[in-house]
């Protein structure tokens, strides 16, 4: 224990039992609830060995009565999940509500959904049986954390020593915060702000930690709105901040975000001469600059597009995206694909449009493919299969791939295997080929559809698996379910519909994409996306993107 005596001195309200608090965590008052007598006895012994004060009961009702009778009599509750008289989760909720004590769940059941349930119900931790001593030894940290959190909320003046003792942060600590805080995108920033407050309490500005703002979709939308309102040229951080009127947001936050945003815009505008170019090029088969405002150059130069960019792109995770350039590029690619598809189809033009020609795209072919996928997905209207034309894509992809894409990077497949080139598709087109190859893989539509006009908060990790999920099959009409990964999706209604109607028929010969995607749909989706935000950086969210602007 590193807490030492400082902890107790600063925790005047810590325990009623002063004697016990001197040797914290010894004397921690634990209430353990388990209907299994064997487990109960073992737990009791283990907890006693940890020098905790243990009260055991085998019924949830009894436990509740004990807690109610003695509100301050316990520090932590350990409860089994499966109990005959009351569901452990119910007890968890009640304890949380009435007594606001940290509750740890236990079960022999280690299936993810049960653990998740525990977490979402507010359990501080979930222990898998058989519980070992080591697991019990550390339960005191949940108590400390919760107290600290409570004190923070009351603006309790913390002593430095107290804070030091708490630096051990467990992965599950997020559940410690109130559920409302958990759900908000501000969770990260709130936490950071708490830390910042802490630092400030130390009266040492040099130690002041800058809170890392999570640019959620909503937040970014606000940002974009403010910028648009001011005019991109006149948008200065101070004014944006004022317009946004978000408490806790600093000018610095806005400034850095604006910087990134500007970079993105530059990239977009660099790729194509002007926004309307997209429209033109879209129709024209050979116009490589159809993407309005999509500055491939910019996108490419925006930075590395890590493999995760796909996820980023898909998720339109503004705040969580770590690779900003990903989205723009991805978007661009999608559009490129789009435009190429249409004109190609229509004109039977096998000319390869290299939208991304020369653009040092950092996007992985994977990303590209994903983009394409997304692009296609977002179109709900029937997309003629001809829309998916390997050739232009190939070219595009080649170019894209050429710059930096590494086939290895593509992560369409369930496993991170490379997308192999399918013979059906134009061989040059790495990505597409690979996509084709993987057509039987599962793609989740949701990401796709949400790319445009949606503000998915799906984090990279979330998206990735999603993408590879069984969404599309070339076999038949399988509409991709638009699952909600608990993300805020601000789908354009049309897009949302589109994505919902996406069927895995169209697209590359392999029918990776639903044939329902119409060229128009895709384009409009892209345009719509573009419209709202102008050349919006993917990282900033696709909210503002209105694909309607894209020339069809």
């Amino acid at each position: 224990m590193n807490l030492g005596m400082n902890f107790t001195s600063s925790s005047s309200s810590w325990k009623s039992n002063d004697k016990a608090s001197d040797q914290f965590p010894a004397g921690l008052r634990v209430l353990v609830v388990d209907d299994d007598p064997t487990c109960l006895r073992i737990l009791e012994k283990m907890l006693r060995n940890c020098l905790y004060e243990v009260t055991k009961c085998n019924r949830a009702e009894i436990a509740l009565n004990l807690l109610r009778d003695n509100k301050n009599g316990y520090d932590v509750v350990l409860s089994d999940v499966h109990m005959p008289d009351m569901d452990g989760f119910k007890l968890l909720e009640l304890v949380g509500l009435e007594m606001d004590l940290p509750v740890l769940m236990m079960s022999a059941d280690d299936s993810m959904d049960v653990v998740l349930k525990g977490v979402t119900h507010g359990a501080c931790d979930y222990l898998i049986k058989p519980v070992r001593m080591e697991a019990l030894k550390n339960i005191w940290q949940h108590v400390v954390r919760k107290k600290k959190h409570e004190w923070k909320e009351k603006d309790f003046e913390q002593s430095g020593s107290f804070e030091e003792g708490e630096k051990c942060q467990k992965p599950l600590e997020d559940v410690d915060y109130s559920s409302s805080a958990n759900e908000g995108n501000w969770r990260g920033s709130k936490k950071r702000k708490d830390e910042e407050d802490e630092s400030e309490d130390r009266d040492d500005t040099s130690q002041l930690k800058k809170p890392r703002v999570v640019w959620s979709v909503e937040l970014h939308q606000q940002f974009v709105n403010a910028v648009n309102q001011l005019g991109i040229d006149k948008a200065v951080p101070k004014k944006i901040l004022e317009l946004m009127n978000v408490p806790g947001l600093t000018r610095e936050n806005v400034a850095s975000h604006l910087q990134k945003f500007r970079l993105y815009l530059r990239r977009l505008s660099g790729a194509s001469p002007h926004q309307n170019a997209l429209n033109n090029s879209f129709m024209g088969p050979s116009d490589p600059t159809f993407l309005n405002g999509l500055d491939f150059q910019a996108l490419a130069t925006s930075g590395q597009i890590p493999p995760q960019s796909l996820a980023t792109l898909q998720a339109a995770t503004l705040g969580r995206s770590t690779s900003k350039s990903t989205i723009p590029v991805a978007l661009v690619d999608q559009r490129n694909i789009f435009s190429f598809e249409n004109p190609q189809q229509r004109n039977n033009n096998s000319k390869q449009v290299n939208l991304l020609h020369g653009i040092p795209t950092n996007m992985d072919s994977k990303q590209l493919a994903n983009l394409q996928q997304s692009a296609y997905m977002s179109r709900s209207n029937s997309v003629p299969s001809h829309m998916v034309q390997p050739q232009p894509r190939t070219q595009l992809l080649n170019d894209i791939a050429g710059t930096r894409v590494s086939r290895n990077g593509i992560d369409f497949s369930r496993s991170n295997s490379e997308i192999s080139v399918s013979k059906n598709v134009v061989p040059n087109y790495d990505v597409y080929n690979e996509i084709n190859q993987n057509r039987n893989q599962d793609w989740t539509l949701q990401n796709v559809g949400s790319t445009y006009g949606s503000s998915l908060h799906v984090g990279p990790d979330v998206l990735r698996p999603v993408l590879v999920e069984p969404g599309f099959t070339s076999k038949g009409q399988s509409s991709l379910p638009v699952k909600s990964l608990g993300i805020d999706q601000q789908f354009n209604s049309s897009l949302a519909d589109n994505s919902l109607r996406v069927k895995a028929e169209m697209g590359f010969e392999n029918g990776l994409y639903s044939g329902h995607f119409g060229q128009d749909d895709l384009m409009s989706a892209i345009l719509k996306q573009q419209e709202g935000m102008g050349p919006v950086g993917n990282e900033f969210g696709f909210d503002g993107y209105h694909l309607d602007n894209l020339p069809v």
Binding site: C39, I42, N49, S107, A108, P130
Partner: protein, 154 residues
């Protein structure tokens, strides 16, 4: 019998039990929990286990005998048995419970019945072996010796 000899027998026997999967590391944990303040801890817990398991097995038999088998109830019982057997380290019983659970999920009555037999079998086996082991332990204690630590198995 000499204390050392008894201790050796104890260790040998315990080794066999661990090797054959009757017991696992959790049992060692229990041994390590035993101390002066709770000298009979292991015996106490094991007895609780026997008691509880017997009841569960009886309940399971009854429930499976019903006209309309309540699989939810079966699942609850089996879950409990799994939990307690894993807590004391009765590995084979625990594994049998896991298999049982699968059949229960499928609502496969015949599979469940077979599994129940298997669980009962494993339970009886581990019961007799634990009893033998604990008897050895008691003899050592009675002769004034210390119970060998089984930490290598944890």
């Amino acid at each position: 019998m000499e204390v050392n000899q008894m201790q050796r027998s104890f260790l040998e026997y315990a080794t066999v039990l661990f090797r054959e999967g009757f017991l696992d590391g959790q049992f060692s944990q229990l041994q390590m929990l035993q101390d002066e303040s709770n000298p009979d801890f292991v015996v106490e817990v094991v007895s609780l286990f026997f008691e509880d398991s017997q009841k569960l097995l009886n309940d399971l038999t009854t429930t499976l005998d019903q006209q309309n088998v309540d699989f939810k109830k079966i699942d609850a019982h089996i879950h409990q048995l799994k939990g307690s057997s894993s807590s004391i380290g009765a590995q084979r019983v625990k594994n049998a419970c896991i298999a049982f659970r699968n059949f229960c999920d499928q609502q496969n009555l015949e599979g469940c019945m077979r599994c129940l037999q298997h669980v009962k079998q494993e339970y009886l086996l581990v019961k007799s072996k634990l009893e033998a082991l604990l008897r050895l332990e008691q003899q050592i204690v009675a002769a004034g010796g210390a119970i060998p630590v089984l930490s290598e198995f944890s």
